[in-house]
């Protein structure tokens, strides 16, 4: 690297440390971290909502504060993942695997600080890569054609086998379901509407962010109803918790460097952002670990890895932006709007003509990470207080927050309906042991797979055969072989395990008793739905048929395999899942809550959004009061009313007051 860059960099550093820029950095970080924590406000939304505030700022301040929102929101999602098993933004869903388990073990503090330190480490790593290597790396990114993207996203899917050790087929079915859901709405390649069944709102598709709220926030709150504990988890204050993950990072240098490298590289590739970065890093860290089983059991490495990776992807996403003018992720794409509003054209011209501002920005992307330490620390301490609030209050608060989060994304009442119905479906599927995280993985990768496949097919029209492009180009061939390799290993293990099992005890024999299993009926319904969609596939033409046809066929196959598996399961597995899911009382409570949420959706347009939320929250509190050992006295009722009003008012202040979300007014408010 030449001395020019160093000179510019130091000037950039100086620019970061003016009082006003520092202040705006703090504001940006706070907004970003809080936005990231709230389900429904993704990184993209957080940046986009902040952009208008930067119009009146000087260029360097605008960029620094936007960079702070970008880094802050990418980190902030972790807090919700850890505390309530709900990713605040899609990029932190891998953090739920170990983060929430740690909370359950009473180690929430350790997990929160691991996310903090991991994000800082990853962010600095990504920022340094951006500073030092942005030119060569962006040229590398250009080598990735659609065919390489295709194999890369398939590679993301192979993570399944190691992530869901229970029933491999159910994990696969979950992912196939996620892929299938991503095909509803407009075809990413041709813009033709698909699977709308004549119902117009389905044209907008099922947004990934909305379904993430269903799969995690909503579903998780219903699951929380199941046990009789008063709190989500015991909160233990551990004085050493803050520095422990910091030390751990430097003991596990190899693991950290691996996950940061993956994060940065995924960030550099246009179209793949923090969600894919974190899941890939998590999987690779697990694959190469000496004791892979500790991942997923509540280990702080399981938080350090995805969090360092998703923040490393931030710097990565800016590499092609600064050198070629191409945003590396959706977050970086919105950032462009902020740049352009300042009269700056991101890309090679900016590096030539406005190098001082460009380097102030790059320097800021490193400096903001140091800002995350104190601000993230304060906000983590504040948000950990959620664990000393009784579950009775948490559940309805998060449920109503899911409503407003779902609505705010696109100002769409239909999205709220999708969130509620999706959440109910997610709960049913969870009870049938189909992991929601597998569905989420399918959703994250679905459109990327279809888009890259579609582009490849169109490009292949210029060649003799599709395979010439898809497999017989050097980079694609390498990625293809990588896929084959990682698929063969677990398959081989599975077959080996099956063979041993057959020789020993597991007598498998058809038994009608298995018809009583809950998952049998869920699978049967799923098979029916798949058939309906397959029939609908027949009506599609051309390229827009290829991907759904494949996905739904695979789904059908998996459904049949699992149904057969269930029917011939050994008798002792029957107790595992009866029609009554947990016990009669909690099943009734879960059903009641779900029915209330559906009612909440219908009340929304007539009563008004917040009135409807107030009503359902009050009813939930009153209904569950006795179970939570609260007498229905006048005093407690007043307390419930007070809490409800405060929660709903806080949501109103945040979404309508600050973000100007225009919720339906209805009769009341």
């Amino acid at each position: 690297m030449d001395l020019d860059i160093l000179g510019y960099f130091f000037n950039g550093l100086l620019a970061c440390f003016t009082p006003f820029n520092l202040l705006m950095m703090v504001v940006g970080l706070t907004v970003g971290i809080i936005g990231g924590m709230l389900p429904g406000i993704s990184v993209v939304t957080a940046i986009a909502l902040f952009v208008p505030f930067t119009f009146t700022m000087p260029a360097d301040t605008a960029l620094i504060s936007l960079g702070a929102v970008f880094a802050g929101s990418t980190y902030g999602g972790a807090n919700a993942s850890i505390l309530i098993n709900t990713p605040g933004q899609p990029g932190s869903f891998a953090t739920t695997f170990d983060g929430y388990k740690l909370t359950k073990k009473g180690q929430a503090e350790e997990a929160l600080y691991s996310a903090l330190w991991g994000s800082v480490y990853g962010g600095i790593f990504g920022g340094l890569v951006l500073l030092l290597f942005f030119k060569p790396l962006s040229e590398m990114a250009l080598k990735f054609g659609s065919e390489s993207f295709f194999w890369l996203s398939i590679f993301g899917l192979t993570t399944l086998s190691s992530l869901f050790p229970g029933n491999l087929f159910k994990g696969l079915l979950g992912a196939a379901l996620g892929l299938a859901l991503s095909t509803i709405g407009l075809d990413v390649n041709t813009g033709v509407p698909r699977f709308t069944f004549g119902y117009f709102p389905l044209v907008q598709g099922l947004d990934m962010v909305i379904l993430m709220i269903s799969l995690f926030s909503f579903c998780q709150m219903i699951i929380l109803l199941e046990d009789r504990e008063q709190f989500i988890a015991a909160f233990k204050h551990n004085p050493g918790a803050f520095w422990m993950p910091f030390r751990r990072m430097f003991q596990r240098t190899k693991m950290m460097l691996l996950s940061c490298t993956i994060g940065t590289l995924v960030g550099i590739l246009p179209g793949a952002g923090s969600n894919i970065a974190s899941i890939m890093a998590y999987n690779e860290a697990k694959r190469w670990d000496k004791h892979p089983e500790r991942f997923g059991s509540g280990d702080i490495d399981g938080v350090l890895v995805p969090e360092s990776s998703n923040n490393a992807s931030v710097g990565g996403a800016l590499v092609p932006l600064m050198s070629l003018g191409i945003p590396g992720s959706a977050g970086a794409a919105v950032l462009v709007a902020g740049l352009v509003a300042q009269g700056l054209q991101p890309g090679p011209q900016m590096m030539e003509q406005n190098a001082d501002i460009a380097f102030a920005f790059i320097a800021a992307m490193i400096v903001v990470n140091f800002g995350i330490i104190p601000i993230g620390y304060l906000l983590a301490r504040l948000s950990s207080k959620i664990l000393v609030v009784p579950k009775l209050y948490i559940i309805p608060s998060v449920l109503t927050l899911s409503f407003i989060g779902a609505y705010a994304l696109r100002n769409s009442g239909f999205d709220v309906l999708v969130m509620v119905l999706g959440g109910i479906a997610a709960y049913v599927l969870t009870k049938a042991k189909i992991p929601p995280a597998a569905i989420a993985l399918g959703l994250v990768l679905g459109s990327m797979i279809e888009e890259s496949l579609g582009t490849t097919l169109m490009r292949a029209n210029a060649l003799d055969s599709v395979w010439d492009l898809l497999i017989f180009t050097p980079l694609a061939f390498f990625l293809f072989m990588l896929n084959v390799a990682v698929l063969c290993i677990p398959l081989w293990r599975y077959i080996k395990a099956r063979r041993e099992c057959r020789i020993e005890t597991c007598a498998q024999k058809f038994s009608l008793n298995n018809l009583r299993r809950f998952d049998f009926w869920v699978l049967l319904v799923l098979t029916g739905v798949t058939l309906i969609f397959l029939n609908e596939c027949g009506k599609l033409t051309g390229d827009s048929r290829v991907f759904p046809q494949v996905v739904f066929s695979v789904m059908l196959l998996l459904c049949v395999v699992i149904l057969v598996q269930i029917l011939i399961a050994p008798a002792d597995e029957i107790t595992d899942g009866k029609i009554t899911l947990v016990n009669a009382t909690t099943t009734r409570e879960a059903l009641f809550y779900m029915a209330l949420c559906v009612a909440g959706y219908f009340l929304m347009s007539s009563l008004g959004f917040y009135a409807s939320m107030t009503v359902i929250m009050m009813i939930m509190l009153i209904y569950s009061a006795r179970g939570a050992k609260y007498a229905l006295s006048a005093k407690n009722l007043m307390k419930f009313l007070g809490v409800t009003v405060i929660v709903v008012f806080a949501q109103w202040a945040c979404f309508n007051g600050l973000l100007h979300v225009a919720t339906p007014q209805g009769l009341l408010f």
Binding site: I47, G271, R410, G542
Partner: protein, 317 residues
């Protein structure tokens, strides 16, 4: 406290005068503008640029509501169903408003809108990468004709301002293999990495990578004043245009005086000195087109759009 909020909101509602669309005091409350695209995109920026001017001109601020989804079709369908009192207007784009309809994703008719104006446009350019060494359309066409259907021409979206000229160019006798992408961030790297040989992209999409590109032609009636050396497709013998027009519309049935007030107000905003410079970094140029002309543009475009739909069908089976 709940009651308090309820009461105060009710009071606020009661204080709002029942509005009789009288132009004399229009607008007397904030005007909601529906953006049928995501915040930060071109559809948003085009309005954000004049956010302050609107407040100065009309004495009331704009309040932004984003209804993205299905390439704008969700937002357009929502506007068509709004009340035509001038307090809900929308940012609409040419040719999306028509193309969504033709592709079957919009639940509206063009007649359901009162078109107010289309003050801004973003033209499509035909570009190649510097590394390709192709510097003129002639050279590109020659190469394509020598290897029919072997040269790939990209378009940034499907059946929009860059795909349509690509299709028409193929129709005009240059045998390209056409590939559509899902947005500029996918299409531009494919061109720079040599995965496709040429690309149609609007100025707003392509210009941040301009120093890596050869600009062969602009799909407009006139040359771009900022790029005076780039010929138009028409000069090169192909009568083809392609651009995104950014304009404003309201639900059908706007009172005539309100409509006149809006058109007149926007016209004043867009004739301010320096307005073109504010749009330039986004690749947009300011050209005033009034409501009637805007509708005429759609009418004139209809045959071309049908032709493009037909061609696309032929190519993709």
């Amino acid at each position: 406290m709940k009651k308090l909020i309820g009461l105060s909101l009710l009071a606020a509602l009661a204080l709002c005068p029942l509005h009789h669309a009288a132009a004399s005091d229009y607008p007397n409350k904030p005007v909601t503008v529906i953006i049928p695209f995501s915040p930060g995109g071109g559809g948003d920026i085009a309005v954000r640029v004049i956010e302050k001017d609107f407040a100065e001109e009309f004495g009331q601020p704009l309040s932004f509501v984003y209804k993205p989804g299905a390439n704008g079709a969700i937002g357009y369908s929502a506007i068509a169903a709004e009340r035509p009192d001038g307090y809900t207007i929308a940012a609409v784009s040419y040719p999306h408003l028509l193309m969504n309809k033709l592709q079957g994703s919009g639940q509206y008719e063009l007649d359901q809108f009162d078109l107010i104006c289309m003050p801004v446009r973003d033209d499509s350019f035909l570009v190649t990468s510097k590394e390709s060494g192709i510097t003129s359309l002639e050279q590109l066409a020659e190469k394509a004709k020598a290897n029919p259907n072997k040269l790939t021409l990209g378009a940034v979206e499907s059946l929009g301002p860059s795909h349509i000229p690509a299709l028409l160019l193929k129709k005009a006798g240059i045998p390209f293999n056409i590939v559509t992408f899902n947005g500029g961030p996918k299409a531009v790297p494919a061109l720079l990495g040599g995965h496709i040989q040429a690309l149609f992209a609007t100025k707003g999409t392509a210009m941040s990578s301009a120093s890596k590109l050869n600009i062969l032609a602009v799909a407009a009636e006139k040359r771009d004043p900022n790029l005076p050396d780039v010929p138009t497709l028409k000069e090169l013998g192909y009568d083809i245009t392609g651009f995104i027009g950014r304009g404003f519309a309201a639900p059908k049935g706007l009172p005539a005086d309100v409509k006149a007030r809006l058109e007149e107000g926007f016209k004043r905003i867009y004739s301010k000195p320096g307005i073109a410079e504010r749009y330039a970094p986004n690749g947009m140029s300011v050209i005033w087109v009034d409501g009637a002309q805007f509708r005429q543009m759609f009418n004139d475009f209809q045959p071309q759009a049908d032709q493009a739909m037909q061609l696309n069908k032929e190519i993709n089976g």
